[in-house]
Symmetry: C2
Subunit: 349 residues, 2 copies
């Protein structure tokens, strides 16, 4: 559990105090950001609770960071004080390997620097995330937030947004495609918005019949209830593409059966345990099961610009940092539509 009260207590001592021992000085290529809001990602829970192992403490979670620029280093040309900016899941990478040069920093061959619970490129200095008042990030990993997007609802774009935008773009989803978004949570609701915005005939595939109305409001044309055999049979072999956002255990064959010949199911949710995959479910119909991980910096900016043009943000519930433990418990019960966004002013409360 995150010792939420400790944030406020430490913060009370000095406006710059709480994690200044980890926060570096603003170097020539750095941007100092006053954090306004930070989205709460399910992976924050996994890491804060060390459910994936290897967590380093003290840990400040948060990789859906938005705010305004407070100060820039001498070499910084892209940003100036007052700019609305964001930081996602990465704060640096080697910038020299084939993946970095291909704008796929998330697959940096030397390892990207995760925004928190990771290390700077020196592989020694721990990184700390966005449940904080300020953060220092090298300019190449800072994103611009379009002026028309409210900051609180834009925050989740930095992870939930790019995680769903990237595979839909990579597999060239658009008009004429029948697309299913599996799971309607923080990731899934963004997937529905993007797939619909790209012109796809979009369905929500969910275990909960109660989400049908919300699915339509978000842009879906219909819902497939995955516990309903008739519903599955009706849509069998009919989807071009599925985006699976489920992070719990499931039977991938159930969903692969919904795909057309040569269809693709891309997974962005990562269950802790391995799934049982019967290979016949991909052999019959030459189907593809593929993974996708966030997106590169260039594509993240492209996604934010697309959101600006199309007025796309996340559906959020704003909380104070003092509510974070309760928020984690509610997320585990899927009791949020669809993302918590922490108002960082509450740190000073």
């Amino acid at each position: 559990m995150i010792p939420a009260k400790a944030y406020a207590a430490q913060n009370a001592k000095s406006p710059l105090a709480p994690w200044s021992f980890e926060r570096r000085d603003v170097g020539p290529d750095d941007v100092l950001i006053d954090i306004a809001y930070c989205g709460v990602c399910h992976s924050d829970i996994h890491q804060a609770r060390n459910e994936w192992g290897g967590a380093t403490f003290p840990m400040v979670p948060g990789h859906e960071i938005v705010g305004t620029v407070a100060q820039v280093g001498a070499n910084v040309k892209k940003f100036k004080a007052g700019d609305r900016v964001g930081v996602g899941c990465m704060v640096d990478s080697c910038r020299e390997c084939a993946q970095c040069k291909a704008d796929l920093e998330q697959f940096c061959e030397k390892g990207m620097s995760g925004t928190y619970n990771g290390f700077e490129q020196d592989k020694k200095t721990p990184t700390q995330g966005g449940y904080s008042d300020k953060v220092v990030v090298t300019q190449d990993f800072v994103l611009s937030i379009p002026d028309n997007l409210p900051l609180d609802a834009a925050a989740p774009l930095l992870c939930a947004g790019i995680t769903t935008y990237s595979p839909l773009r990579h597999w060239k989803i658009g008009k004429g495609d029948k697309v299913g978004i599996i799971g309607l949570g923080g990731l899934g609701h963004m997937g529905v918005k993007f797939a619909a915005a790209f012109g796809a005939e979009t369905y929500v595939i969910t275990t909960s019949p109660g989400k049908a109305e919300d699915a339509k409001r978000l842009g879906a044309v219909g819902t497939v209830v995955s516990k309903d055999k008739d519903d599955l049979a009706k849509h069998a072999g009919s989807f071009d593409f599925l985006l699976c956002t489920v992070a719990a255990e499931y039977d991938p064959g159930l969903y692969l059966g919904l795909l057309k010949v040569d269809g693709t199911m891309a997974v962005v949710g990562a269950p802790d345990k391995p799934l049982n995959l019967h290979l016949f479910s991909v052999i019959m119909g030459r189907k593809t099961l593929a993974g996708s991980l966030i997106g590169g910096i260039k594509e993240t900016q492209e996604m934010l610009d697309f959101c600006g043009e199309h007025n796309i943000v996340s559906d959020i519930e704003v909380i104070n940092i003092q509510q974070i433990n309760e928020a984690y418990e509610r997320m585990i019960k899927s009791d949020v539509r669809y993302r918590f966004s922490i108002d960082m002013k509450s740190l000073a409360a």
Copy 2:
């Protein structure tokens, strides 16, 4: 077990007797083939022993059929008596659905007619395969065997050949690609020959260090021993494409770790039981696990023509039908390099 002696015994009664009750008359679009050789596929064992369930008996296995045309129907223009021909895993399909029209009859929406242990398109008349003296097949499902290929070694091209050729073509494997063929058996040895012929830097990935010499002879530049952790580490993240021919249970994560970012592992072997797939193994590196099933009729002819141009056949051991049960036992122990081909003259012995 196949009652091998029964074949000979029945056959002795009359040159046309054994399964004439199942063999239809030669219709206007049909070709009557005198079978010369039939390859022995591992799936013959699964079906003869009803290991996949739903088998229909009496069953004449065999879907790697080669021989010469004995007689043609009035409408047959493609073939004449004496032509060298082959029949693979299918003998018909609906010919009207989107898949049939896209030359993917193996994925016919109404169900293709398997060469044996299946039904004609009337969904009633059982089909019987190539462990026989003759077979009647509609002309559109009969293939031409190039003149320069010996019939005995060409037989396995009809299943093992197309099963490995098709995915290598579909994923556009060629010069500049580092390709791994996982498993060096009936399918795998054909995969090595094709990948090398397409210009790929081809490796055999095997549990048996003893296969390194054979791998080179078949066209591989090297071998990766999958039980050797150092070998796996040396090749980690280096392959563009993997073709997995293994039909026993395995850990797909072991092989997915060998792929580059955006790499693909295509599976053509179908283990009876589901595999344990940890989704991180595809999410990290945006990797693909895909299936492939034989190939359409047009592509099968393209493969045979390619084999003719490049003098590619299977490595075989010719047996008599009386040795079939022993052959099955040896195949289960991987004791064949690399395919049995039955000399169908032995039926008359």
